[in-house]
């Protein structure tokens, strides 16, 4: 049951990426082009996702609901770290170059898009290098 739910949740996520337009690199770049020809539509993706996730989490916590008797993780904030701030900036630069963040790149593997096939092995390499430098804390 748990395995099925995880598989299903992944499918919802993947469908959401395609339906929203997040898997289209040019559209993502258009969303980031605030200083040029800005296409603000993708703000609704983050808006919708954050709202649903936030309200759902509150509801699960309030009602004490557990799925497959799994305990919810700790989602409280940690102090801001310089390392993570710099890392986030590096991620943003990569995102602005290609228009891919990790989820949409993986979603594009479903139809074997060549850019995803180039992007993902190097993303994995980058993760490996960062893990060797900084460990696996998050």
């Amino acid at each position: 049951m748990k395995s099925f739910l995880i598989l299903f949740s992944g499918a919802l996520f993947g469908a959401g990426l395609v339906i929203s337009g997040m898997t289209d690199p040019a559209r993502v770049i258009g969303f980031l082009d605030i200083l040029g020809n800005w296409d603000p539509a993708l703000a609704f993706v983050m808006g919708g996702a954050v709202t649903v996730f936030g309200c759902g989490l509150l509801l699960l916590r309030k009602t004490g609901t557990r799925i497959c008797s799994t305990k919810l993780p700790d989602t409280s904030a940690d102090p801001i770290s310089k390392r993570m701030a710099v890392g986030s900036a590096i991620f943003g630069i990569g995102w602005g170059l290609g228009g891919f963040c990790p989820g949409p790149a993986i979603a594009n593997l479903s139809v074997l898009r060549i850019e995803a096939l180039v992007f993902i092995p190097l993303m994995v390499l980058g993760m490996f290098l960062a893990q060797r430098s900084f460990g696996l804390d998050r």
Binding site: S9, G10, A11, G14, V18, S20, V52, F53, I90, M127
Partner: protein, 144 residues
């Protein structure tokens, strides 16, 4: 502006993240999921692999069934070298930064965590600045 499809897609992404978190007991950020499959800490690779398989299947089915946006085009002037460099930076940055658009953006901000909000703002600003700089260099004008 068509915002209905982005909104529906966003709701699905939020639901998928919520359900994955409730069933796994972990915060399901995509970069963390991938990273912990590459170098597993404990034996819990299983749910992460299942989530990614589901993600690829869900995306593939949506494309097959012509749901939503469907479009796919490359931003101007970006060749394979750019995608390769972008992949390296995204992989390194998301691990050094502890999360990506889903972990910090959807889950972290959804849970009201202040650190996630700060990191999300940082990668958004860096992305906007990168696109502006790219346009400036390649087209000689920010408005492109």
């Amino acid at each position: 502006m068509n915002f209905i499809e982005p909104l529906i897609g966003g709701v699905l992404i939020g639901l998928g993240s919520l359900l994955a978190m409730a069933a796994s007991g972990k915060i399901p950020g995509i970069s963390g999921i991938v990273a912990k499959i590459i170098r597993p800490k404990s034996g819990d690779v299983g749910w992460r692999a299942l989530f990614l398989i589901g993600l690829i299947a869900g995306a593939g089915l949506s494309l097959l069934m012509n749901l939503g946006w469907q479009g796919y085009s490359l931003p101007e002037g970006r060749g394979m070298v750019v995608f390769a460099l972008a992949g390296l930076l995204v992989g390194f940055g998301t691990r050094m930064g502890g999360g990506c658009t889903s972990g910090h953006g959807v889950c972290g901000m959804g849970a009201g965590a202040k650190d996630a909000l700060v990191y999300t703002l940082i990668f958004m600003v860096a992305g906007v600045a990168t696109v502006a700089a790219w346009n400036l260099v390649t087209q000689g004008g920010v408005a492109g």
